[in-house]
Symmetry: C2
Subunit: 317 residues, 2 copies
Amino acid sequence: MPTLKDVARHVGLSVTQVSRALNDHADVSAETKTRVRQGALEIGYRPNLAARTLKSGRSGSVAMIVPGRSETVEVELLMESVMGLSAEFSRRGLRFLLHVLGPGDDPVAALETLVHGGGIDGFVLTDPVLNDPRVASLTASGTPFVLHGRDRADAAYPFVDIDNRAVGHALASTLTTRGARRIALVGGPEDRPYTLFRREGIDAALATAGARLVADLPGPMTEARGRAAADSLPPDGIDGVIAGNMMLAAGLRAALPDIPLAVHDDRLFAFDPARLSGPLMRTEAPLDAAWAPLCDALVQAIDGEIPQVILPFQTHG
Amino acid sequence: MPTLKDVARHVGLSVTQVSRALNDHADVSAETKTRVRQGALEIGYRPNLAARTLKSGRSGSVAMIVPGRSETVEVELLMESVMGLSAEFSRRGLRFLLHVLGPGDDPVAALETLVHGGGIDGFVLTDPVLNDPRVASLTASGTPFVLHGRDRADAAYPFVDIDNRAVGHALASTLTTRGARRIALVGGPEDRPYTLFRREGIDAALATAGARLVADLPGPMTEARGRAAADSLPPDGIDGVIAGNMMLAAGLRAALPDIPLAVHDDRLFAFDPARLSGPLMRTEAPLDAAWAPLCDALVQAIDGEIPQVILPFQTHG
DNA sequence: CACCAAGACCGAAACGTTTCGGAAAGGTGA
DNA sequence: TCACCTTTCCGAAACGTTTCGGTCTTGGTG
């Protein structure tokens, strides 16, 4: 494997000049640059990533840490993001490192090992909890990262997210403008910030309209739970239901054929909204629209910026 | 980010001894070793991978290239392997690089770019086709790799696989020993070596027993296709069916409630065999038993060996 | 003609680790 | 006493790159 030294000998220059030529520095004559590049090509020079990383601190690799299989993890979402992100990073010539945690592993410890080990320029964080410890750790160590979502309302770090407060507001408003006053919410997991933010938007919209939230049932977003939730709703006088995603909505609709349904659609599952009968309003923000912005944001974060991207959502019905 | 030098200063030793202590070399007293390890822990030392790589020539990273989402890809399987392998490599302190191909990308080109760029010690290859071009490329460049499966009968490279010929033989034999003579095969994708190998085993077993294969329907292994295949079987006198996996078997059983079924179970889907009524025999080889052996095999391959692992399967019923 | 800036180049140090070739201290046998 | 181990330690070099600070030309300027 030829090194800079070999190239230098081959073109009759110093290692310094060869390095500077290949990196397109200013104080190398144009003629020398082409000569060096030509020579490097001739002997098949490939820069040694480890040496470059050791010296410069930049490796061209980014990483993501994901939990292993477990009850509480939505594997579909995980895989969708891994595939989407990896593809986008590959397209940009960056290397994508995937670290899957074992059953008892601490995400923060894994993060710190990877950070100090070097060779990783930045991290993609997904699925935050409130005041996420990973955010704290990376912020403390000054490591670039981008978060898919937000772990608090006043985030000061790079993130890509939708406006979940606005989503909640929109969902609640579509129900109240159609006359609903006693509304049930069957939302997502309790400890997720987006559940909280949507709830805030819902509360605001309901207060404005003089409507009431008569039930709030957070939990996992499966069709089965949608059906179960429908059964445990107070039987009297609910005139609108807000669902966290389409799977929940499908379950709810099966049990409550005629009730007005407002639902957020992340398009995670290939689920045709037309399959749902009855009155339906939905906000739509495809999750897979986030991968490219996330990559761009991470690149910017590595360059020292603090990109904060709010992706749009659409309303239907 | 403390370095070896910091640890050395902290415990009052030389960098050399600290390095040797942490790497468990012989000429360090046991007492010193514990003292050093303690000190390293105290100041939060983490080895710098880039430096280690530069010195040793080993990066501690392995890579896997997977196709992106498409019709022909079994996402469940892909996801299962990515998660399983990544977790196993993480456990061994190796870094797992995932490269997801874009729609039109050539796997071999991606492979060669990664190999040429350096910084990757070895590759995991999965889902081979016959005479897989990736195998040819890596063999030609002398890059270590391990294949999950085999791309030909006389493989001379590192692999982890089951004996699919024996699987086919076992499946066919269980049917013939129960008197079946006119047997249909609803197998896996036509271009997959394991489909071919199983077919060979089936043919051998049937020849010995004087039985006949009256239908051979290769194709994707879904429940829907199982049902469809049942309809297109010759209507007269089939007394046994061999299915490529449990999903196919489920589809077949729905259409043919009483026929003896022999099926290979890779446990890819959490599918309880008890759910299938009627006469059922199966060979069982859980796919997720392969991840750890694959990792071990790749490590050995990187060390210059040629591990060839045949994982066992069980027969039930 | 002295001076200086600009252009092109180079030596050497540094990044953090591993490892080679010793060296000091203490024990052993003669 | 001496030579000769063993045990435990250490200095320094090396891996391949980037970059700081310099040197040597050249040509223009007053």
